[in-house]
Amino acid sequence: MNNVFEIRNLVFSYPGKPEPTLKGLTFSIPKGTVFGLLGPSGAGKSTTQKILTKLLEGYSGEILYNGKDLRSFGKPFYEDIGVGFEMPVHFNKLTALENLAYFAGLYRKTIDYEALLRTLGLYEARNQAVGEYSKGMKVRLNFARALLNDPDILFLDEPTNGLDPRNAKIVKDLILNFQNQGKTVVITTHLMGDVEQLCDEVVFITNGKLSEIKSPRDWKLQYGKKEVAVEYLDDGGLRREVFPMERLADQPGFLQALSHPVETIHSGETSLEDIFIRVTGESQNA
């Protein structure tokens, strides 16, 4: 698989800070994946994203974008990427259409943004000043802004934060649709549900250092308990038993439990929230 970005030993320090914010990050972002860059606030996620989007320079190490040094790319690099900020980035006194038309004029190619506004449920409010929009509407408009230039790579910061489940699903479907076109998404979010639904690969960043890169499933397999908990009714009371996952069908106790009216069955799979806390906690304590 081709890598869109290859990052080797990336070190970055903000002026005046004694310790580097990024301490030798090495990882790759494969083309056509949704790549999750996760970690606690202040861990270095935004700094990494700002470097990859060429907003920050003065780093050491090597970053290759499609096999070439990122430093060698000028402003046309921004024709290739779309950036969705967490905070609203629109002129409040201009309408949604005026905003998108303004930013669209800065690119060589643009998408049909009126159609996108329809998909995002903003078309009816397209001629309304953005200042009158709700938080959720502004978040959706931010997403439209990121897709405006039909980019190959999308950098998204908390893309569904502040959205109701229905609109969050629309945005997530659009992200997956974007990926289905063979394009790449780099996403930072604190919403682990989104990570699970969207990301192919996830890396945790803590104190400027990286964890391993794994799929959400592999993270869960690593940190989950290989066991099954069964709750069933026995003699009018609720009983709970835990069985090892291995050779489950050969365990008489498990089969016995299933012969009773079963209330719940849960595997020992852990949540990504727990994994986030454990991985970032372990890194902080290391």
């Binding site: 907003l55 402003k75 921004y78 006194k93």
Partner: protein, 238 residues
């Protein structure tokens, strides 16, 4: 070039939407009223001062208001991740401030010409306004970019501009004499007014050249060395 024109037109539209142009025109209308209601001698004496105030003080205030709206709304961030060079973004802003200055100039000097017959070379006057806006916005930007909010910027700018206006009081009072006039010209605001006055009366060509070069140098040095790097830093930090 297409993108730069788009930025410039967009900036003008934004200034109109945010009613910044409205307030600029309102101030110009007040100047127009003063000029129209004055007699010819007073009008000719006032025109350079009024145009100078618009090109100097007003252009900084308009640019400051526009910048803080933009900072608050995070739109500079959005421009940074577009294929447009930051220098063009800055240039479009300066050009829109120059445009506002030129409109005001046409209104004030135009009415002085129509009502009082105070003829002037509009081409030269436009050049002076361009140089004056460029130099004053360069100085203004330094204060805009080091101030946390619009009010603290306004206080700083007012302090500096008051200082710049001192020669405009000392020269007519004779405290600064003809041989020390070059010292007065170190005030960019006075240098601008001096250039504007030269369009209505004869002045020393040496001092004229000094004032013109001085204002051009201010814009030419401050924009690339002080404004651009700081503007870029603030835009990245948000």
């Amino acid at each position: 070039m297409r993108r730069f024109l788009h930025l410039y037109v967009g900036e003008l539209r934004r200034l109109i939407k945010y009613k910044i142009v409205f307030f600029s025109l309102l101030v110009s209308l007040i100047w127009v009223a003063i000029v129209v209601l004055s007699d010819k001698t007073t009008a000719v004496a006032l025109v350079p001062t009024l145009i100078g105030m618009d090109a100097g003080m007003m252009s900084i205030i308009l640019l400051g208001a526009s910048f803080y709206f933009e900072k608050q709304e995070g739109t500079i961030h959005s421009l940074l991740v577009s294929p447009v060079p930051v220098a063009q973004v800055l240039l479009a802003k300066v050009l829109s401030a120059i445009s506002a200055g030129l409109v005001s100039m046409l209104m004030v000097a135009g009415l002085a010409w129509i009502v009082h017959g105070a003829a002037v070379s509009f081409g030269w006057m436009a050049l002076v306004v361009i140089v004056m806006v460029a130099s004053h916005t360069a100085i203004g930007y330094v204060f805009i970019l080091i101030s946390k909010d619009f009010m603290s910027m306004l206080v700083r700018i007012m302090g500096v501009l008051l200082l710049f206006y001192v020669p405009a009081i000392l020269v007519p009072l004779g405290i600064i004499t003809e041989e020390w006039l070059w010292v007065a010209l170190l005030s960019p605001t006075y240098a601008g007014s001096f250039l504007l006055e030269s369009l209505y009366k004869t002045v020393s060509s040496g001092l004229l050249a000094f004032a013109a070069l001085y204002l051009t140098a201010i814009a030419g040095v401050i924009y690339p060395l002080a404004v651009y790097p700081r503007f870029l830093r603030i835009a990245v930090e948000g």
